[in-house]
């Protein structure tokens, strides 16, 4: 219960393993789960929600067999259980039209273009994770080693 999750979805194994490396920093504090398709991810997050855990960050590729990333993220955006989940689109092939849909319908918090720079990527995720933690009233002190400091400061300035 109350475990934080970062779930990442991509149909290419190589991408998943690069993501795994880039997210390693969070490993000790957050559960990291890789999925190869939207349907697999949906099943996983259904389960974690039932267990009382939190889907903090969801990272998804766009072009995948089955449901597309933007459709998947839109479904998550409209799902009351995941209102506060931070959504990231990770893609190299989204068209202009896709991008508009991602912003307007899926309400993504971050658009990351492939190939990405490891350092910038981790910092983005750190930032989103911290935003999720403070927005949901989760005790930040347990995550002090991985939180994005400036995001935490901005919150503490107004809330203590």
């Amino acid at each position: 219960m109350d475990q934080l999750y970062i779930v990442y979805v991509d149909d290419q194994r190589e991408i998943l393993s690069t993501l795994e490396k880039d997210l390693k920093l969070f490993e000790a504090h957050v559960r990291l789960e890789a999925c190869e398709s939207a349907s697999e991810a949906m099943q996983l997050i259904d389960e974690l929600d039932r267990a009382g855990d939190h889907l903090a960050v969801l990272i998804s590729d766009h072009i995948m067999p089955g449901q597309s990333g933007i459709d998947f993220l839109t479904a998550i955006n409209n799902d009351g259980r995941f209102f506060t989940t931070k959504k990231v689109l990770l893609t190299g092939q989204a068209t202009h039209k896709d991008t508009i849909l991602a912003i307007n319908n899926a309400r993504i918090e971050k658009y990351i273009e492939k190939p990405w720079k490891s350092k910038e990527f981790t910092e983005s995720i750190q930032q989103l994770l911290t935003q999720f933690i403070v927005a949901n009233g989760i005790d930040y002190t347990a995550y002090q080693a991985i939180v994005h400091q400036p995001t935490l400061w901005a919150y503490l300035q107004k809330n203590t």
Binding site: Q144, V147, Q149, P150, W153, A154, L156, Q157, K158, T160
Partner: protein
Amino acid sequence: MRSIKLLACIAVPMLILFLPTELFPVTGLTVIEKRVIALFVMAALFWVLEPIPIYATSVLIIVLELIMLSDNGLLIFRNPGKAEGFGELLDYKAIFATFASPIILLFLGGFFLAMAATKFRLDQNLARIMLKPFGNKPKNVMLGLMIITAVFSMFMSNTATTAMMLSILAPVLALFPAGDRGKTALALSIPLAANIGGIGTPIGTPPNAIALKYLTGDQAISFGQWMSFGIPYVVIMLLIGWILLSAWYPAATTSIRLDIKSSFIKSGKARIVYITFIGTILLWLTDFIHGMNSYVIAMIPVAVFITTGIITKDDLKKISWDVLWLVSGGIALGLAMEKSGLARNLVNSIPFASYSPYIIVAGSSLLTLIMANFMSHTATANLLMPILAALGTSVGNLTGMGGVTTLILTATMAASLGMSLPISTPPNALAHGTGAVSTSNMARVGVVIGLVGLVIAFLTIYILRLVNFI
């Protein structure tokens, strides 16, 4: 690990509860007093080991007191057999009243001021103006930052002040070349000044409020009186801290530029905030003219901000109830110890009267300092203040040294000086999180500041005695 801690925190007090009263080395111990001992031990274990958040422990204390010690508690706890040596049950209304003790409302007033100031960027703007005269030399900028941090933490929470100052400082820290020790000095100066600044006013930090709770009647101290010794103390300690940091961690960089982007808001609401802020402080300092005490005055900003919509319904939900309840629990614990007679009984069963009063004062503040380094400052004060208050009133040879007032004030200052570890205070943890301060940097500065601070605290109280202030 957490469950082992939790088990210890529950098992030990339970054991005390089931021991016969004759086994305790306190003469004439009543059943009620024994329950208070169990409660106190439980509180101490919970606050030290922290298997649950510290404010949760406070709530637990209050509820357990209501059930086990009050005149409206569970029937079996209310001496059904009319046994001898049971002791007096506590008035349940007195226990409930700890939630709305004047001390708590004084803090609430402080929270309203701080919240309104932040909302209308008064803090950012003041920081910008106050920092200007300090120029660009790292050493001078550090002094400026320390003064601003200390002043703000007198009215805002130490954590919020630190968070704000670190976010101002962070862009500059990032520009420092690797290996420049000046970075450590700057990052460390913020929590140091925030912790020390809290001593300046009664609302600076929760331990001060707890101290006020035990300084009543002839010992009562007004807001202005507190500041008359608090501010000089803060000034001296800041100077010592500044000299220490600039000597130990000199900056190689010759010039830094802090950029605070902010401008004064000129709306009607903002003006109300400025006026109320200044007005409240002036009222606090002039109680001898108008007759309202600091607790009554604290409700004025609450009324002004609520009626003018400066603090909205949504803002109300952001009030740090955890801090208020943490203090309430401490007051409730103190209440139980005092009203059951336990505090006095405990003190009497140890031959304190045969000890030198100097040892008692030095020992109690040193104990406070040590505890405050390892656990929450407020929890430390919650545990120790009731005992010190009883000690001060019942040990005769302390009266020559200022009795309760001396004991409580030195311990209060000591509680704020616990800052040698990242876990000592939230401001320390935040500074450690920047990566610019190692634990050993922090320990080196914290230990020296703690010990020097104690000596200065003794001197302060000594001077206050000389001028017949206490």
